[in-house]
Symmetry: C2
Subunit: 544 residues, 2 copies
């Protein structure tokens, strides 16, 4: 059943002949082209299926022995995979940073695959290499705004690099800190540099006990991966508590100085330009001063918020980013490019040379091959998607999208403020916010409770938030994520909150109102609500 | 000109309305679907355009201010980008590892982008998570062939991981060595482990001078990146000369022991399953013995050759791979999946825990989120392309493709052997080979020349090979790459050779004959040929 013939003819066919226009795969394609929202709402099932149930469809560990007809396979993709995917295009999917994409990326993705270029090397990418360099230049310009002569000199220079294109923000952050590490511990009198001699030798030579990276507790988990993989050790990621969600410059300076006094060396301060959990922006300008005073690298992780620079109205929220030695921006977030497009940008185009590498058959010295200064080797032509989006939206188009997202987040925060039984826990700096469900009388109670009672009540609310978030997710109509953090009102305790990312241009005011209403309905029916109310009443009795 | 209106309506349109069927982008898409070879031959220009010339089209460093109509942009993509891309589908493009892809990947790429899942987390990927785990399981099975109970236990276990899916072989190799490093220097009495405490502390605690990785000189350049980024230092990549193109186990053992005697610790031996330059396979079984004796990790970089395991006839060429602690395989190479699909497989499903990581809002402990043990964070659904290819080809389909590629390489090597004025420098183990143009009389001369004359002649031949390779590339009909290596016949000297990768199923015997004929024609017209002949004649005069 569905077994295709194993013959050279069959194999040649899949390489040389497209599927017939009436085939299942062609139908899928047509449906995607005609109306992707309709395709998704028709094929992605909304009713809850447990992961364990889904896993049954993906549990055969044997490579299938015989070929399958493309159309048979397409049917099974629809049933097993598409049906149980997440509808990231849905206007009510506001829990994560993936959202609807503009239509033009669908045909472009086909063009990218059809061309199948490899950007590690000009011989396998040709025009894609200058294109990627231009994209990096444009983003560099957006951040650093250097004079024309600067770009004339460096954009296509074989000896320089304005940044590294990569599969995502994690690799971008690792790349930036890798460059920082190799530059700080670079070749010097009597020492050939960390890239050659290794980290232990570098510590010995420079008499360093430890090398550390500092960020607030809201820093992205990729920084922890970075200090691990780079050999610094996760203990050397100095995460500073941040009940106000941002890194306090005075505290950063104090802790940095103490770290130095203890015989360590601070490699970098990482300022966040839009934390993943609440969208807050660290005081970048002041942190640049701190980095300067401590003599360390200043990296800004603007994977989420970097695109805010397109907006004349809001770009000031990232003030100071232009002083960063390196900046991470993900195009697959607020630039609405398909998953897999991150960038690390370097203020000084010399810096990427700290990780430059050559190989004989590939990446010859003096060539403009991009692979010489990237962590990744073979890479696809994703830069084309960024290039096209930059042209088709233009700065003004992105500005409108960014402004609208932030305005929508403000609107939603006002809705939450006005709704009884809800509590806004962080206000939106960018298009993220957090809040929680909390009965009005409990809110009142919390204001006057002693610390012990407050903590106990908050734990009960945590249970309520978890219950509501899970039930709403399982109902399948909308998705809001949840996280745990120290909120401004409860700095000494981690509380569980709903987390909302308002990036999907299709999300409307009414969608948001409906999501809130649904949460309210769910909440009041939960056991957790009852337990919370009972607990509050009991504690009142005890108090009186 | 071509300026689109900046309005919410326009922005909404690109998100909600597909391009009209007659639009330029739709036309491009249709052409790709109907006949990709025709599309490429019509739009990719073959005549040489210098990189400098192409760069002019990509030199504006300003983000365009205003939006552009999609169709206007599509026109410019064709003119500037597609025209100056590399036709990797061409049957005569046999210089690198990128080739034609089967048709079904074109609509699948659209489906992937349309679904826009993020595999870092189940909440943004759902069925894609078990799918990716199944793909890793199938590839694990292909390499390690464990009993069914093994896969039943581990395939979907939250506490285990059969491998890491990543954007390519470089990240896969880095991931494998990262796991190896963290495992070797893991938590132990009085030491919290390298992941937490860092590399320098680990060296101090274990009294290690240096940690090294061993491979032959033909090892991939990503290993050099790996020892750099992981903090070991590039000096600690012990690259063993390999005139026979493979790592000699006796030599490996001897050098490994000496390394240990000097107070160092060998972290890993890397065996190559298909070197990038010549396609040779290290004696994996014997190297597994050496690794065992030295007590180190054994990694096999089978980014290219791993797919050979699909072939009953040739899978023995990778004998011993099943003893590796970790294996790298690129699906975007001989599995004919679009660029961006690499895998690191782990024999022991516990091992990936050495790099496991959790974060609050994402990757909660106990979850099956894939991001917890991968180097990358957000990732796209490329695993679907591998899943589909595994089903549509089946093992037998891949077997046919692999067998045909190796047979074709043998055929080409015979053609080179028979052609006068050509010299085969390495014979194909897999579907790669190297050769050079060398006039018959010079070949004769080389056999009897003294070392000094031989070296001098070889340098002249190098110049000839470079000249021919460049001119052939610039003529645009075909592409053969070149590299420098120590060949079996000239072990003490690096020589320049043509490098051929026979992966494109569309490449025929006649294509290969034409490529050879073209090289011969070009060679005889070069100044380098004349100089070579003259040099040989002169040296004869001197000798007589």
């Amino acid at each position: 059943m569905g077994e295709a013939q194993v013959s050279l003819e069959h194999l040649f066919r899949v390489f040389t002949k497209p599927e017939h226009k009436d085939s299942k795969l062609a139908q899928i394609e047509q449906h995607l082209s005609d109306n992707i929202l309709d395709f998704l709402s028709q094929h992605v099932v909304t009713k809850k299926t447990s992961l364990e149930e889904i896993e049954k469809d993906f549990s055969d560990s044997k490579v299938p022995e015989s070929p399958e007809f493309v159309s048979t396979h397409a049917e099974s993709l629809l049933d097993k995979l598409v049906a149980h995917s997440v509808n990231t295009y849905s206007p009510t999917f506001i829990g994560h940073m993936t959202s609807a994409l503009p239509y033009f990326h669908l045909p472009l993705s086909k063009l990218m695959v059809g061309l199948n270029q490899n950007l590690v090397k000009i011989e396998t990418s040709k025009a894609f290499t200058p294109l990627e360099r231009q994209v990096l230049g444009m983003m560099h310009n957006l951040v650093y705004d250097q004079p024309q002569s600067f770009y004339d000199e460096h954009l296509h220079s074989a000896a320089h690099s304005l940044g590294a294109f990569c599969s995502g923000g994690t690799i971008a952050n690792i790349t930036a800190l890798w460059v920082a590490r190799n530059k700080l511990l670079g070749p010097q009198k009597g020492f050939s540099g960390v890239a050659k001699a290794g980290l232990a030798a570098a510590y010995r030579h420079l008499d360093i006990k430890n090398l550390g990276v500092m960020c607030s507790k809201r820093g992205h988990y990729s920084l922890s991966k970075a200090v691990d993989v780079l050999g610094l050790g996760r203990d050397q990621l100095l995460t500073i508590p941040a009940p106000q969600q941002t890194l306090d410059p005075a505290k950063a300076l104090r802790i940095g100085k103490r770290y130095h006094e203890e015989g360590n060396k601070l490699l970098a301060i990482v300022g966040v330009g839009g934390t993943t959990e609440t969208g807050h922006v660290d005081p970048l300008d002041e942190l640049a001063d701190v980095a300067k005073e401590l003599g360390c690298w200043f990296h800004v992780d603007a994977a989420w918020g970097g695109a805010t620079l397109f907006s004349s109205r809001y770009r000031d929220r990232l003030k100071g980013i232009e002083r960063a030695d390196s900046v991470t921006i993900d195009a697959h977030k607020q630039m609405y490019v398909p998953m897999g497009a991150g960038m690390a940008l370097f203020k000084d185009p010399q810096n990427a040379n700290a990780v430059r590498h050559h190989a004989q058959y590939i990446l010859r010295a003096g060539s403009k091959d991009l692979g010489a200064t990237t962590l990744e080797g073979s890479r696809n032509g994703m830069a084309m998607m960024v290039y096209s989006a930059l042209h088709i939206f233009g700065r003004k188009g992105y500005e409108l999208l960014i402004d609208r997202s932030i305005d929508k987040a403000k609107d939603f925060s006002h809705m939450i403020d006005k709704a009884r039984d809800f509590e806004l826990t962080t206000t939106p700096t960018l298009s993220l916010l957090t809040y929680r469900v909390c009965p009005e009388e409990v809110q009142e109670k919390l204001k006057h409770a002693d610390a012990k009672t407050r903590n106990a009540i908050n734990e009960k609310i945590d249970a309520l938030v978890v219950a509501v978030q899970k039930q709403q997710r399982e109902a399948g109509k909308s998705f809001v994520s949840r996280t745990r953090l120290e909120a401004p009102d409860y700095p000494s305790q981690c509380i569980t909150v709903f987390r909302v990312v308002l990036a999907n241009p299709l999300t409307s005011h009414n969608d948001l109102a409906a999501i809130l209403a649904e949460q309210h309905l769910i909440a009041k029916e939960t056991q957790a609500w009852k337990e919370l109310m009972e607990f509050v009443r009991e504690s009142e009795k005890v108090a009186s």
